[in-house]
């Protein structure tokens, strides 16, 4: 062995050392972390044919959405765990400051009871919808072929839990002022039976059973999330402002900051995916297959949302504008 070259210490991990650039903290702790892509016949160190190995071979590595190196993906904002908490603790301090301040001013007492009824129907059932994004993000994250893509989804999963938590909090507060509107008790019934929600429910139930990673990341982030962001955050926020509900308007604005961040990394992802010939048509095909369900969901939700004339149309246009901005 004495004739062989002895390896010397490097300035960073060997997998990052070939490049000239000094790696950021983000790259040091986020890049190339999955190890299930090393043995094509057996992602995990067990029988190659066991159920979960077959699942990953088919759904992660067998997807039609191809790129020679998904591990080259970088979150444009380089979010790591500790910066995520700093950022979101700051955001939560803001949101809970709003809750505190509006509660002190008896904001809910000033709301029109009819608007409270609208909230019971259009707002508080959203915790079910946000939970579906939480679940779908958890799935896409666990089957993503690169840790940098996975992490974006896990933070998005956490953000969805954040939105759900805001809804639960407000549901409780509203129930204390409007005892007869079914706050805290009727959300499931609305979610399961009210026509307003059935479009989103159908979209998300079906999106949650897309197992192919390529199709799932497209359906979740280019079709379902934009539809939800535009209808259930932006349009509902507009409706709120027209009905004296300043708090809800500010809250959805705060949540839309998360949604904008999700779109920034998804935009980077699409740009990367389009480097591979054939992916454009593939992604367009998936969008064409799923957009009608999303459009139907937006229409069902926005059609009777008060005081947002043309809401469905402009929400649908906004989803298309987002996709068009990515060359799709």
């Amino acid at each position: 062995m004495s004739e062989t070259q002895v390896l010397k210490p490097l300035k960073t991990w060997s997998h990052l050392a070939a490049r000239r650039r000094k790696p950021s903290e983000y790259e040091i702790v986020s890049a190339n972390l999955h190890y299930n892509d090393k043995r094509p016949d057996s992602p995990y160190e067990l029988s190659p044919s066991m159920f979960m190995n077959e699942w990953y071979k088919k759904n992660t590595f067998g997807t039609a959405l191809k790129h020679p190196d998904w591990n080259a993906f970088r979150d444009p904002e380089e979010v790591v765990y500790r910066t995520y908490n700093m950022m979101q603790d700051g955001q939560e301090t803001y949101v809970f400051g709003l809750f505190d301040q509006f509660n002190q001013r008896e904001h809910d007492h000033a709301l029109d009871p009819r608007w409270a009824g609208t909230l019971a129907r259009f707002y508080t059932p959203s915790r079910y919808l946000f939970h579906t994004i939480q679940m779908a993000s958890a799935y896409v994250g666990q089957v993503s072929p690169a840790s940098t893509i996975t992490n974006c989804h896990y933070f998005q999963m956490a953000d969805s839990f954040r939105w759900l938590s805001h809804t639960a909090y407000r549901t409780k507060e509203l129930s204390q002022v409007f005892a007869d509107k079914g706050f805290g008790t009727d959300e499931r019934t609305y979610w399961e039976t009210d026509p307003v929600w059935q479009g989103f429910r159908e979209l998300m139930e079906k999106a949650l059973t897309v197992w192919d990673w390529g199709e799932a990341i497209v359906v979740l982030n280019l079709v379902a999330k934009p539809a939800i962001d535009e209808a259930v955050l932006r349009k509902l926020g507009e409706s709120a402002r027209h009905n004296g509900d300043t708090l809800l308007g500010l809250l959805t604005d705060a949540q839309l900051l998360d949604a904008a961040r999700h779109r920034r990394w998804m935009s980077a992802f699409v740009k990367m995916a389009l480097e591979t010939p054939g992916n454009l048509e593939l992604i367009q095909g998936w969008i064409a297959k799923w957009a009608p369900l999303a459009d139907k969901a937006i229409e069902a939700y926005c059609a009777s949302l008060p005081d947002v004339a043309g809401g469905a149309e402009s929400a649908k246009v906004a989803t298309r504008d987002f996709r068009r901005s990515l060359g799709l």
Binding site: T4, Q5, L7, K8, P9, L10, K11, T12, W13, I28, V29, H34, Y35, Y44, E45, L46, S47, S49, F51, M52, N53, Y81, R82, N85, Q88, D89, E92, F96, F99, N103, R127, Y128, H131, Q134, M135, A136, A138, Y139, Q142, T150, M157, F161, R162, L164, S165, A168, Y169, T171, K172, G184, E187, R188, W191, E192, R201, E202, E205, K206, L208, T209
Partner: protein, 501 residues
Amino acid sequence: MAVLNRMDWYDLARTTNWTPKYVTEDELFPPKLSGDFGLPQNAWEKYDEPYKQTYPEYVKVQRDKDAGAYSVKAALERSRIFENADPGWKSVMKAHYGAIARGEYAAASAEARMMRFSKAPGMRNMSTLGCLDEIRHGQMQLYFPHEHVSKDRQMDWAFKAYDTNEWGMIAARHFFDDIMMTRDAISVSIMLTFSFETGFTNMQFLGLAADAAEAGDHTFANLISSIQTDESRHAQIGGPALKVLIENGQKAEAQKRVDIAVWGAWKLFSVLTGPIMDYYTPLEHRKQSFKEFMEEWIVAQFERALTDMGLDLPWYWDIFLKDIAETHHGMHMGSYFWRPTVWWNPAAGVSPDERAWLEEKYPGWNDTWGQCWDVIIDNVVDGNMAMAYPETLPYVCNMCQLPILGTPGKKWNVKDYPLEYNGRLYHFGSEVDRWCFEQEPERYAGHLSIVDRFLAGMIQPMDLGGALAYMNLAPGECGDDAHNYAWAEVYRALRATKKAV
């Protein structure tokens, strides 16, 4: 009151089960991913997590914890603790980071499995936070060792280990992949959080933190005790799931998963933590022996956790109680003798003082492992180094992937536990390893151990050089004696004295 209390709205945030309409319940929660226990969604709605935390609480508390751990690191960065540390302690850090860091990151996806596929809404939310925790543990345990990569090439393995076919990493992956990466949501909660995290990580993180503090490595001590505060929260995900299973007549299935996971965890600890505590940690910094740690953390505490839950002790508990005084001595001898095949430098830990400590903690050590060490020591003292290295492979177990070993010397009890299954002869290190395999042979039967791969011609050339290349170990990375055999001087002197007399 202007702000609600947590419990005013907590339950609403975990009231998120609904009845699917556009797909079936089995499509939304495929039994092989959710846990095929035949329990409908509403049975799981009784799931009640004992540790309750909301999103805003989480981000605040975790932000503060990070501030603490990272500021200790920053404050001590120039302290040259690493440079001045005993080589045995450096080996502790290398072994720990390599085997643990990216495994913790992988656990984020095991938590995400529970999040997506559990039918218990409370579990889904707690796993959301657990997933974030594991990202934290992966990222911190990469960021902290990265500081040292420019000083020591073996530190590269804090990242690289999981990408290799190094034998210990095959074993680590086999275990973690079995209990957390390839199981359904409920099994993950039982095997990863209840069995492994409640049972064992306390020991790795608190036990090692105690040794680290003794050794003056406050950055490491602080890091791993900070991690343990997260573990002790998300380790509680599995308990309520066990309760639901037991209440619904599924105790036997639950017990089986606990038994498999605890045994695998034990074997991994016997090779990773046992040598660290009883051989690598400098004698003066050892708080307790590995056996004493095991007795305090696993035997006393985990036994209670099991019985509190209404579970039985694993059927093999007698074997386990005997093995905690034995197995890790063999694992240490194996990783020392085959030291070029590990990414750290094993400390022999067998100076006369250390042997006296071992004999005190493990009566009979000198008549057993000591007998083998006598031969090794003679070879080192005589400069007969060719005989202080191996020329073949140890036979490894087809379950735990670790060498099949036992007690040598006067109490020689080494034994193979073979099994023929579908025409192939498998070998196991114990009755329990073989039992684990037999519970679900289709999970394991198609896997090739490193010895199977060698015999199949997948390792070329068929010698040590070929094996090292297969394990991605190159000179500069391969392990050697941590202290460059300095400890042998005492024996040389003793021998000289004897001759003089």
